[in-house]
Symmetry: C3
Subunit: 342 residues, 3 copies
């Protein structure tokens, strides 16, 4: 990672509420408070690390409004509403210099059906395959070895990383970012048990990814049995997540790594699932509900709930029960004692 | 999805027990009961949605024998033994028109070793790689960017979707369908701890997939340490499932998404694992056993059992314990009350 | 699997402490004790299978020092310090004959940027892509359809199997083995919630894989937000594992299938995670700690601990609580009985 920022560039970029102290150092690296050395920039994003500010060797530190810390010599503090957002601005600058947008055009090793339609401003990298009837929008970048199936429509300014597969007849809107190995539109898992065998139910629906969706590496979103599996605008999905057929996910949801959502379930807007959550099929999780790690959702979840456990219940109830469970040895003793005294 | 069915075509396809009502509409879409509009066909597959029949706007509805519902004007009900099977027949028709079987032949961008043997009726799509000694059977379709390793034998009428990898020396029988990103024959996870390091145990067995196996997107089936990892005839595996080395899975099993089965475990025929189940190594799960979502199997499971929890026990016992656990606050109070009264 | 070993070759290879009995058979297969037939070699690696030794039809069996078993006619027992290690030596021999090291060179269908640097002794298989600034070391083998991003450095004697993706600017040291479909350096899952939307935090760090790391099929290791996600020397990771951004894993750890480790967590050396474990972010798991299957780690774990459950606690405490939980029906009865008697 090549990073070079002067004090002046940082001021322009961050527009800090206050600048405390000063440094002669040019910033050449980013690190955590504890691991920074001279020339690094660091930040306090999580209050957990507050104590590290005083001892950090970083030449520049982004701190939240209200922070009382004093810089040491040759150290500058930038006081911001939100240090994490400040860091994101810096990282975006770095990203743009690290990975400049490639030139439009089609790599000679890509294979594009003569019946596909690719925008002149799109960039199709090596070994991509675009089947007949597919459409690729303006400024969209298929990095390498991306497969776009028959009849799939891809919007503008998307970025699909190496090894992404999008099966036939899907719809991907604008600014969708798919990390490597994402599979969109594999068959849903549907069979009928007939005469001792599982007969396949053909899955003839599709997948729709709305604007600004991002999906993590090796996650899978199955095509619908009929109609569509839908991921709503601005929803972000982490790695190795499974989204079953006919699932409808609302806008601006967060689905952490290794969650699984079974068929025909609905997540309303702003739902958050922590890692490794399992959700049964044919359920609704209400708007803004939050589900803790490894929970198992087997019933309707009301909007705004915080759920935990398997089968999941409210966070507070589950934590209380878990605390009581840990007192079972005591309870058994108390009952024995009562029995003796009676 | 382009769908056009006349009333007469549906009668021929479905052979209904009874036709109730009539419609002048040509069927141009499929949707759930609640989301149908005029021109759509719908079905009652899950009794949970029974109340939606009366208000559905679908022009045609598949209903099970015994249904008492009456069609509204310009609406037809087809009464069938199994509406889901009826829908599957309709979807199969759609699938065949959506994704017509490609012509036999080898795409110019595929790379096939001169020492591989590919049937004249097989279709090898763009950017596939077939190593020396591999054999591809009649009518088999490698869609795009499929890798077939050295010496692997693939049977007839298989369909491997984009990004499938089958490592060396495996055996795939007939009509096997592998969704995108499936990895067959990666090394099993085996090491010996020697002098402070994990030394690799080479994995020199293979994987055998019997007839009519289907495996979901990005699932992985490891090659055996020696002899074979086997998936039995007609078994269906969902997405992101891990099957360890030397596992033997019987016939007609159902393994839902994100399950993991550790090495050398045996699943007898007709076992069903719900989503995110974990199974320890060197165990047997008896014929027809069913395991609930997120359960952890750490011991032998008798044939026909229904298991739940971690460590799993019988479904009934686990549900009873969970119900009692939820009454712990009450129990603690009752014990306190006893203590006070004594 | 073609296996041919004479008695003399096995003696040379295994250097047994003792040879008991004799066989005229050439060894042509390897199988478990229970499934062996004449001409097979078997071994007792897990004491669980001890009873199978007496009835095994294997012509040769590797047994541990201290074993009292007597061979039957035409059967030989090789007594070894560690039969599993003995078997590993045999399997290594087989592996070398099954998968001979390919010749150095670049396949004509691979695409290598003129600005990449590939060692003359490396082997770049079909349809690999190597972007500008990447470096591939001596004797490294990219098998097929491997993607190496801009500026990534790969060391010597690595083996990357089909479909591996390594994004830009990563560092892979020597003898690293990546199974098919592994994704190294996808973006970490980081967003800031601003004005009702999740704004992406660019992930501009990288991933460092130290010497002798092995990673299983379709596992994902995310690039750091800044600085590096690190997998330490000799650590072995199974299939479908998720390693979040800025995670630091020590040396010689074992991470079984489908584990997930959230961002910025530290695993010290020699940690073992069984299958489907979830670890929250910003934690430390101390040296040599062991975590049982499906456990959920939500707090600091002391070195050498054995943890179980979710939220995890010590193995002994969790097992005791689970035993008491199973006695809840009895406890409820006892309390009812006390209430009646009072």
């Amino acid at each position: 990672m090549q990073v070079v920022f002067t004090h002046e560039e940082l001021i322009t970029l961050l527009q800090p509420k206050e600048v405390r102290g000063a440094t002669t150092q040019v910033i050449r690296g980013i690190a955590t408070l504890a691991h920074s050395k001279t020339g690094d920039l660091s930040f306090l994003g999580n209050p957990k690390y507050k104590a590290d500010v005083a001892t950090s060797k970083a030449s520049a530190i982004l701190l939240p409004v209200g922070s009382e810390d004093k810089p040491s010599e040759d150290q500058v503090f930038y006081i911001l509403e939100n240090p994490s957002v400040g860091l994101a601005k810096i990282c975006l600058k770095i990203e743009q210099s690290l990975w400049p947008k490639p030139q439009p055009g089609v790599h000679p090793t890509a294979w594009i059906s003569p019946d596909a339609k690719v925008s002149n401003s799109a960039c199709i990298g090596p070994l991509c395959v675009i089947e007949a009837g597919a459409v690729i929008g303006d400024g969209t970048y298929l990095q390498s070895n991306v497969f776009i199936g028959h009849g799939t429509k891809v919007g503008n300014q998307c970025w699909f990383m190496p090894g992404v597969v999008i099966s036939a007849e899907c719809t991907i809107k604008d600014r969708v970012r798919l990390q490597p190995g994402v599979i969109i539109g594999a068959d849903g898992f549907g069979y009928e048990f007939i005469a001792g065998k599982h007969e396949k139910v053909p899955q003839v629906g599709n997948v729709i990814l709305e604007n600004d969706v991002e999906i993590g590496a090796n996650s899978t979103v199955d095509r619908a049995r009929f109609s569509a599996t839908v991921i709503g605008e601005g929803t972000k999905i982490d790695n190795l997540v499974q989204v079953g057929h006919n699932v409808i996910i609302g806008k601006h949801c967060i689905i952490c790594a290794q969650c699984g959502i079974a068929g025909s379930t609905i997540l309303e807007d702003y739902v958050v699932l922590a890692g490794q959550v399992g959700v049964s099929g044919h359920l609704t999780i209400g708007k803004g509900a939050q589900v803790g790690g490894q929970a198992g959702i087997t019933n309707f979840v009301a909007p705004g709930s915080k759920m935990l456990g398997n089968p999941a219940q409210s966070f507070i109830a589950e934590q209380r029960l878990e605390a009581l469970r840990r007192r079972l040895p005591e309870l058994f003793k108390r009952v024995s004692s009562l029995e003796e005294r009676l």
